[in-house]
């Protein structure tokens, strides 16, 4: 396994309801990342279709693997790159059970997926109307490290990244479609989730305007100490190269030994208390 990897944070504005145009952006971005020496390129949440697609989601969602994933697999194979992107997934077993999913492919083909666990359904968000929440924590052991996932609102729930970390994730990828009024929350949470788990966290957010919502970008790589190692522009498309050095994890973990200090019995109490809320 590599000790150092290079990431490309591809902060794009998706063309809504136009999967072919967005797949083309994925291809362009992946090739550009390859040229710049990246091992992996990351695109935002639901970037295959755009975020505000409402009822059109039923005709845009695909199975995973499915046609869109196969196309990205082909791009990944041709370039030797790892690629992460977000898309609406329809269950293979039913016709209208959807998930908000992050897809992970690599030079070897399809690696796996992560289905968003926490679906915001408040304010401008209506995700529970369309999606079923995911139940699996996803951590994939690859030649570029142990990669874990979360999606956008999952960041508000520390258990999601903690579980990924406890299952071995060294780098947690958080794809997002966060509108500008919530920027401050995510700037805090991305740093907190990386720091409390002493893990790398790559956050890639959408930009552009969809039905009056303006996505704020600001994608970033956060170090296990909570420091921001690289940061994309606010509000505009950007493409940021950055490096993850897994050797930085041990000194961080030694200096901030949160994992050593975990108290499992508190989780039992948390569960009992939470059920009574």
């Amino acid at each position: 396994m590599k000790n150092k990897i290079k990431l490309a944070l591809a902060q794009i504005s998706s063309k809504r309801m136009d999967k072919q145009a967005n797949l083309h952006r994925f291809e362009e971005g992946t090739r550009k990342a390859k040229e710049q020496g990246a091992d992996m390129v990351i695109f935002p949440e639901l970037s295959l279709t755009g975020y505000v697609i409402r009822d059109q989601i039923y005709e845009l969602a695909e199975t995973i693997p499915g046609p869109a994933v196969e196309r990205v697999e082909q791009i990944a194979k041709e370039t030797g790159m790892y690629v992460v992107f977000g898309m609406p997934e329809v269950s293979e077993k039913t016709k209208a059970t959807l998930y908000n999913t992050a897809v992970f492919v690599g030079p070897e083909g399809y690696i796996g997926k992560y289905r968003k666990k926490y679906l915001p359904t408040h304010s401008v968000f209506e995700e529970k109307r369309y999606f079923r929440p995911g139940y699996q924590t996803a951590v994939y052991d690859t030649p570029i490290g142990k990669i874990g996932f979360c999606i956008c609102y999952d960041l508000f729930f520390p258990e999601v990244t903690r579980l990924a970390r406890l299952k071995g994730a060294q780098l947690i990828i958080s794809i997002s479609a966060s509108p500008a009024v919530r920027r401050n929350y995510f700037e805090i949470l991305t740093a907190a989730r990386a720091l409390e788990n002493t893990t790398f966290l790559a956050y890639v957010n959408l930009v552009g305007v969809q039905d009056g919502l303006q996505f704020w970008g600001g994608s970033r790589l956060v170090a296990p100490t909570g420091d921001i190692l690289a940061k994309a522009k606010y509000d505009e498309e950007d493409f940021v190269m950055c490096e993850v050095n897994y050797n930085d994890m041990r000194p961080a973990e030694t200096f901030i030994p949160t994992l050593r200090d975990l108290r499992p019995e508190l989780f039992d109490e948390l569960k009992r208390t939470c059920e009574l809320l």
Binding site: R16, M17, G50, V52, I53, R54, D55, Q56, E126, R129, A180, G208, V209, Q210, D211, G212, Q214, D235
Partner: protein
């Protein structure tokens, strides 16, 4: 959080950037050649005109001045022209009195003493002019409604509120005034008392029965789910005053929506046909 004038403070620079981006994005994705708007000489339309010019260039902003004889104000025209000149807008003046008189004459039940019904004809007639220009010039209509008047229903249904986009509809009047000054609207115009100009000497604050500085704080509290009691206590006003604002806000939801229909079929327009604003 405690209600005070400071809750209405805004980051003018950031908001100007977001609103110009919003306008530009909508014009670009809709394929329109530019925008049309009514420039009344008031702060809201001046602000929207300036934002539109900053977004896509004044040469793509058609500002229509639509005076009529009963409410004609040389000062309003002058203020509108100052904005048009400063932001290099395209302008046209359409004297709408003949059209209005046509309506008055052709409505068998027309009642000249009913100034509200008559005034609403003026607002709706202006909408017809704006949409004619938009249609003819392949442009979109940009509306000037702000959040205070939209929440209070202080507008003419299908009249002044009619537009393809309404960039300042999420800003209270007092916030619009701050934004206006920031983007270069003359201070005097930014703080000019508002009037819908449906009849002579009609003043917004007089009709609403409350100053915008107070109204906006009450609306801000309602927006944030505060109770009437909390708002009244924090602003040191009578509970009845807050109740009155709340009742009016709730009562006029019909003015803010497409027409309601009865749910009969599988998916219904305006109810559960949930489609994206595809531009």
């Amino acid at each position: 959080m405690r209600l005070s004038p400071s809750v209405l403070e805004i980051d003018e620079q950031d908001i100007a950037k977001r609103l110009t981006r919003f306008i530009k994005d909508y014009v670009d994705t809709s394929g329109a050649k530019g925008v049309v708007l009514g420039l009344s000489g008031g702060v809201d339309s001046a602000t929207v005109a300036a934002l539109s010019a900053l977004a896509i260039g004044g040469d793509r902003v058609m500002a229509l001045m639509l005076p009529e004889k009963e409410t004609y104000s040389a000062k309003d025209i002058e203020d509108a022209q100052v904005v048009a000149k400063k932001f290099k807008l395209q302008t046209q003046v359409c004297e709408i009195t003949p059209a209005l008189e046509g309506f008055y004459k052709s409505i068998p039940i027309f009642d000249p003493a009913d100034r509200l019904c008559k005034g609403n004809i003026k607002a709706r007639a202006r909408m017809i002019y704006l949409y004619y220009y938009a249609n003819k010039l392949n442009r979109i209509v940009v509306g000037s409604s702000d959040k205070s008047e939209t929440m209070m229903g202080y507008f003419t249904k299908w009249g002044d509120v009619a537009a393809d986009i309404s960039p300042i509809m999420d800003l209270y009047k007092t916030q619009v005034r701050k934004l206006a000054e920031h983007i270069g609207i003359p201070r005097e115009l930014a703080h000019k008392p508002s009037t819908p100009a449906l009849w002579p000497n009609q003043m917004a604050e007089g009709e609403l029965g409350i100053k915008y500085e107070l109204l906006d704080q009450i609306l801000f509290g309602l927006e944030r789910f505060m109770t009437v009691e909390e708002i009244a206590e924090q602003l040191s006003v009578e509970k009845a005053q807050v109740e009155k604002v709340k009742a009016r806000w709730l009562d006029v939801e019909h003015k803010r929506r497409m027409s309601l229909t009865a749910k009969i079929e599988y998916r219904t327009v305006g109810i559960d046909f949930r489609l994206p604003h595809h531009t």
